[in-house]
Amino acid sequence: MQKYSIASLARNALSQHKNWQQAWRSPPLKPEYDVLIIGAGGHGLATAYYLAHNHGIRNVAVIEKGWLGGGNVARNTVTIRSNYMRDESIPFYVKSVSLYDNLTKDLNYNLMYSKRSMIDVVQTYPRLRNIRRRMLTMDIYGSTYHQISERELRKRIPALTGGGPDSRLPIIAGMVHPDAAVCRHDAVAWGYARSADDHGVEIHQNTEVTQLLKSADGAITGVETNRGRIRAKKVAVAVSGHTTTLTDTIGLKLPLQSFNLAAFVSEPVKPVIDVVVNCPDIGVYLSQSDKGELVIGGAPDAGQSFRRDIKQNVFEDAVASMLELFPAFKRLKLLRQWGGTLDIAHDATPIVSKTAVPGLYVSAGWWGGFKAIPAGGFTLAHLIANNEPHALIEPFSLQRFDSLDFILESGTTTAR
């Protein structure tokens, strides 16, 4: 792998940038692999990288129906954080944030990683109690939250001029989560893809799985695709919203439903917000990208959906909510919007697990999966390599539903 550095940049500048190597190959498709990963998104590519890098399993193919990194890894609001509620969840996200902290170096790929606090604008007392309770649990596992006054909050976010004493929901306090960060979403997919490819992993785009295949004794044997049959004794499904579409093909029912979550950006403006602002009481969150655009997200569309656009009423709700707190943003023009299909499990906690079909693994229910990419890939690779879960994801197994041990996380994500 060509090492990216200031020296390589200078060297290639001298040769008119004509000698950069391709970041990954496009090899011919083989009929069989040791491990097949469906979905070349953040989780799929990270899993392939850790399989090769940590476990020495290199005969791996990542197959993708569209293009690399064109799914939800390109359709999120890039917030990386670990302020969750349950004892089972917080250590996992703490691990993910810590892997992100060093990822630029580990992958030799500039993720444009920017550590910045996330600040919750708290407007109701039940919310304040809820977040303070999360603060105490997070403290056990090394994640951080602390309360600030309304006055301090307005000092940290000068654009926050709404929510005064006469408003519908006056601001009560702020809660700061200093571990939060943002980074360039494409770079995460491209960085993992490049390093995985360097370890021998094959990435096959435009390869759509139409059917999972299992043998007479019930074990997975491979997949049927638009480019023919591919055999593998271990198959991992990392396709976000379409997980059930694939598992339904072999009659495996999972406790997942798919929803549409959308976001949009404003025109670029001068630096105005240097933290991730989350307003859980009115259901909107925003940050400012390096280009100056405000990246704004709202609540999901209510019913099950496989669409990637945004409904006008969902969009208007988010904008109206934002303007309550940031009235000055009324003059901003909005440039573009995007949506993604996410699946959410019955208890709103992800599923990283073996299934009833031997050799078939699923990584699903990642409502807010961008922040979980490094730890999700790290632990899924461990599960595939050893057929036993890593300690961090033991609670995320499908077995929790059999014993009705739900890990209720609703309320800590945009899934309200």
């Binding site: 406790p255 997942l256 019913g303 496989f306 009423n313 009705l404």
Partner: protein
């Protein structure tokens, strides 16, 4: 946006309604009679098709009627004639 036909008020904009979740199968009369697998499936599994789902909507900013509709999860087309939810 969806246009949902309320049996009382006729075709109305989605924003007058609140989503009431997918239509569930009736709760088993005697859960003890089910196997563990059946009980867990009843509690946790919801069909998640690329296609038609049956769901309830509450006309809360209208007449207050509950409506069940059949909607395509890919196109948002509302397919069947709407009827009162009956519960």
């Amino acid at each position: 946006m969806l246009t949902i036909t309320c049996p009382f008020c006729g075709p109305r904009n989605e924003t007058e309604f609140v989503h009431g979740g997918p239509l569930r199968v009736p709760r088993p009369n005697d859960p003890q009679a089910l196997s563990d697998t059946e009980w867990v499936a009843y509690l946790t599994i919801t069909e998640n098709p690329l296609g038609l789902v049956k769901e309830k909507w509450w006309h809360v900013r209208g007449c207050g009627e509950w409506v069940t509709i059949e909607r395509d999860t890919r196109s948002h087309d509302v397919h069947t004639k709407q009827e009162p939810a009956g519960e």
